[in-house]
């Protein structure tokens, strides 16, 4: 009997263990080999099975533009199912923040898919990001690189581990209040750069309002042209501002790209007016729009046929028009503080807008513009990845600005019905917006 129980226990333990498999996931043919090169011989010699897979290969069959991967449910479903099928002890992919936007997005996709597979009961070990060699991309930024260093194992960052308990989520604490060092002799300038209409208010509306209240000049910038994101008629009729639809018909009634641009830009003008400024639109195309009730992504030929007005795609990265446009704005206004979104957000347009703002800041500085600091809004993403923690550098008490910021947010009626909740985090009875200082030209790079 005892032996039987021991055997059953051993079997259960065995079944809970990952398989002796290394799963290496790349974007393009050949990449998986490079990603695994530092370790595969060693593991093979120890009896491990090495499985290589590419996103567009027969294993995953993802024939999509990879810069859109994290917002497409079928991509996450395919990758998580693949992980679930192999129960790998180690999963290897690129590193988030690499210079290549597809590489970065695949890393993000694999991270989220790996977590999904774990939730579904996969027997997993660790997830490794290959430490990038290049000194470009935002992972090269010291502020971000240093948060990965505690989990470095040779050529990899072990960003997640299913076999040991995850560290406890950090208790929310306000970071130190900002110590501004605006350039003397002129009115200080704050420039906010958000991805979509309404991201501005959600991410840093309170801080923007606070600085304007202290006499700063405000520059309000929206990166994308918002070709997607209006599902008219989908809002709760009980909301005073959201009572669009007399028939009380719920959506989906997505509006086509041109209309969505118009509606959301008009709402943005109203929102900016609450702060007393006029918005600047970089008009970078989003990665998808709607035709009828179908989402049309940029890898669909019909997306090009539709040809929505815009200045290239927001995920074009350093090759796109956006960098030149944003750099020109930085040179024109020479902001003391740039407020933007967080690098590596799941929504690729959010992360790429942060990347754009950061690169434009660096380029403008290199070309002689006297710029100050880049602040990236954490919006609660302090636990950046399971084992990678990103603590804020600056906490701005925006309690007094919450009403104004929320009133500005309420102008985006197509998004929130005109009755949005407060988006700032509450700590100890006060509302805060917390930021990472991603670049600092007031006294050296952070």
């Amino acid at each position: 009997m005892k032996t039987c129980l021991a055997l059953l226990f051993a079997l259960a333990v065995c079944q809970a263990q990952p398989s002796k498999t290394i799963l290496i996931l790349g974007a393009r043919p050949g990449d998986a080999g490079r990603l695994g090169a530092p370790v595969v011989n060693d593991y093979r010699a120890r009896g491990y099975q090495i499985i290589y897979a590419e996103m567009s290969g027969p294993e995953l069959n993802l024939h999509i533009d990879l810069t859109t991967a994290t917002r497409r449910p079928q991509a996450k479903a395919a990758v998580s199912q693949f992980i679930l099928a192999h129960n790998p002890e180690i999963t290897i992919t690129y590193c988030m923040g690499e210079d290549s936007v597809p590489n970065h997005t695949v890393a993000d996709l694999v991270y989220r898919s790996w977590e999904e597979a774990r939730r579904k009961g996969a027997r997993l070990g660790q997830l490794w990001f290959r430490v990038p060699q290049a000194k470009t991309g935002w992972i090269a930024n010291q502020r971000f690189r240093k948060v990965f260093e505690p989990v470095r194992k040779g050529d990899y960052y072990a960003v997640a581990d299913a076999r040991t308990p995850a560290p406890p989520a950090p208790v929310a604490q306000p970071a130190p209040p900002p110590a501004y060092h605006p350039r003397p002799g002129r009115q200080p300038v704050v420039m906010g750069i958000a991805a979509h209409a309404d991201d501005f208010e959600i991410s840093f509306g309170g801080t923007f309002a606070k600085l304007l209240g202290e006499g700063w000049k405000g520059v309000y910038v929206i990166a994308t042209n918002n070709t997607a994101g209006c599902e008219l008629g989908a809002y709760n009729p009980s909301h005073p501002g959201g009572y669009f639809n007399i028939q009380k018909v719920r959506g989906p009634f997505p509006s086509d790209g041109l209309e969505t641009i118009q509606i959301r830009q008009e709402e943005t003008r109203h929102a900016a007016a609450v702060f007393g400024v006029e918005p600047i639109f970089l008009n970078l195309n989003e990665t998808f729009c709607w035709l009828g009730r179908q989402e049309i992504y940029m890898d669909n030929p019909r997306w090009s046929l539709y040809d929505a007005p815009g200045n290239g795609i927001v995920t074009d990265g350093p090759e796109g028009k956006g960098l030149g446009l944003a750099t020109a704005l930085m040179k024109k206004y020479q902001p003391d503080i740039v407020l933007t979104m967080l690098l590596g957000e799941e929504n690729p347009e959010h992360g790429e807008t942060a990347d754009l703002a950061y690169r434009a800041f660096v380029r403008a500085s290199a070309e002689g513009a006297r710029v100050g600091q880049v602040w990236m809004a954490l919006k609660g993403r302090q636990q950046y990845l399971e084992r990678v923690r990103l603590d804020p550098d600056v906490g701005v008490d925006v309690t007094a600005q919450v009403p104004l910021s929320t009133r500005a947010l309420a102008q985006h009626v197509s998004q929130n019905g005109g009755n949005p909740p407060i988006r700032q985090g509450k700590i100890g009875g006060k509302y805060y917006e917390q930021f990472v200082i991603a670049a600092d030209r007031t006294g050296g790079e952070k």
Partner: protein, 313 residues
């Protein structure tokens, strides 16, 4: 009883179906003469020439009633005679052609040959300013009505594009009309407006007093006449009937005086609302009905069996 209703309701809808059928279709995706890229509205002049707003080619194309290409004008830009995603079109009693140059926030007027004759508008909320002009229509005395969509109002101009008045606001245009899209002048001079997101039609006097609203929401192959799923283009037929493009039901509906439902027919195209979108509509004096399909990049001409017989002769 319930089961009987399920049988009878579709039959009622079918009984109201029309004998209109497709008699001609022209156009395909492209930028050559006679081709289209996402055409929007259509208008017909007194000689039954057909003018089509070819939105993503930023131009207007003119055809005879059989679809023979006659001429085109416009390129993308903001100068006189240029367009930036135009949307609506209307023709006055002298053949003057008005085009709502949507993303340039203005209305332009042209001769029947496409010669630029004038323009009005810029971004704003003042008289003669627009926040995205969409549909347009001309009444019997050549007053031009322009749907100033994101100002939630209708502006009126004379044939020289001189501002004559405006009515409506986000609230007052018809109590929370949402995303109004197109309008037409009815035979009695009233204005019909497609209140798109409320899935209904609103009728106003020329000075903006609400006369009535009608329409309910339904989206199904058997949706009853008088129900809509996003009504878009509107037109008034020579016999006074009101024609409505019912977007997600992929059909046209026809209403008689007092907005009484008369008939409907499904427009030609796939059963796929991302590839089939009856958007603009117009009627000629002979009773033919022209529909632009925004996603099929074409114009469809519909007629009755009498029309078909006449065409065969």
């Amino acid at each position: 009883m319930k089961a009987l209703l399920w049988v009878l309701l579709p039959m009622a809808a079918l009984a109201a179906s029309s004998d209109y059928s497709l008699v001609k279709q022209w156009g395909a995706f492209g930028s050559k003469p006679g081709e289209f890229r996402f055409p929007t509205m259509v208008a017909v002049d007194r000689s039954s020439n057909v003018y089509v707003v070819d939105q993503h080619n930023h131009r207007v194309e003119k055809f005879d009633s059989n679809g023979r290409f006659l001429l085109t004008w416009g390129v993308q830009g903001s100068g006189p005679g240029q367009f930036n995603y135009p949307f609506g079109i209307a023709i006055d009693s002298h053949g003057g052609v008005y085009v709502s140059d949507m993303n340039n926030e203005r209305v332009q007027k042209f001769s029947p040959e496409g010669k630029f004759e004038g323009m009005v508008g810029r971004y704003g909320s003042g008289n003669g300013e627009f926040k995205f002009p969409y549909g347009m229509a001309v009444d019997s005395s050549d007053t031009l009505y322009v749907l100033d969509t994101l100002n939630y109002r209708v502006q009126k101009f004379d044939s020289n594009l001189k501002f004559q008045g405006a009515w409506g606001s986000a609230e007052a245009i018809g109590v929370r009309v949402y995303m109004p899209h197109e309008l037409t002048v009815l035979q009695n001079g009233n204005i019909a407006l497609s209140d798109r997101q409320n899935h209904r039609i609103s009728i106003f006097t020329p000075s903006g007093h609400l006369v009535r609203r009608f329409g309910g929401y339904s989206e199904a192959p058997t949706a009853a006449g008088g129900d809509f799923s996003e009504p878009h283009g509107l037109a008034t037929a020579a016999n006074g009937a009101l024609l409505v493009c019912d977007r997600y039901n992929l059909r046209v509906q026809m209403f008689g005086p007092a907005s009484v439902f008369e008939r409907l027919w499904r427009t030609a195209g796939p059963d796929d609302n991302s590839r089939h979108f009856p958007l603009g509509i117009a009627a000629d004096k002979a009773g033919y009905i022209y529909v632009t399909d925004h996603y099929q990049h074409c114009v469809q001409k519909y007629g009755t069996p009498q029309h078909v017989a006449a065409m065969a002769r």
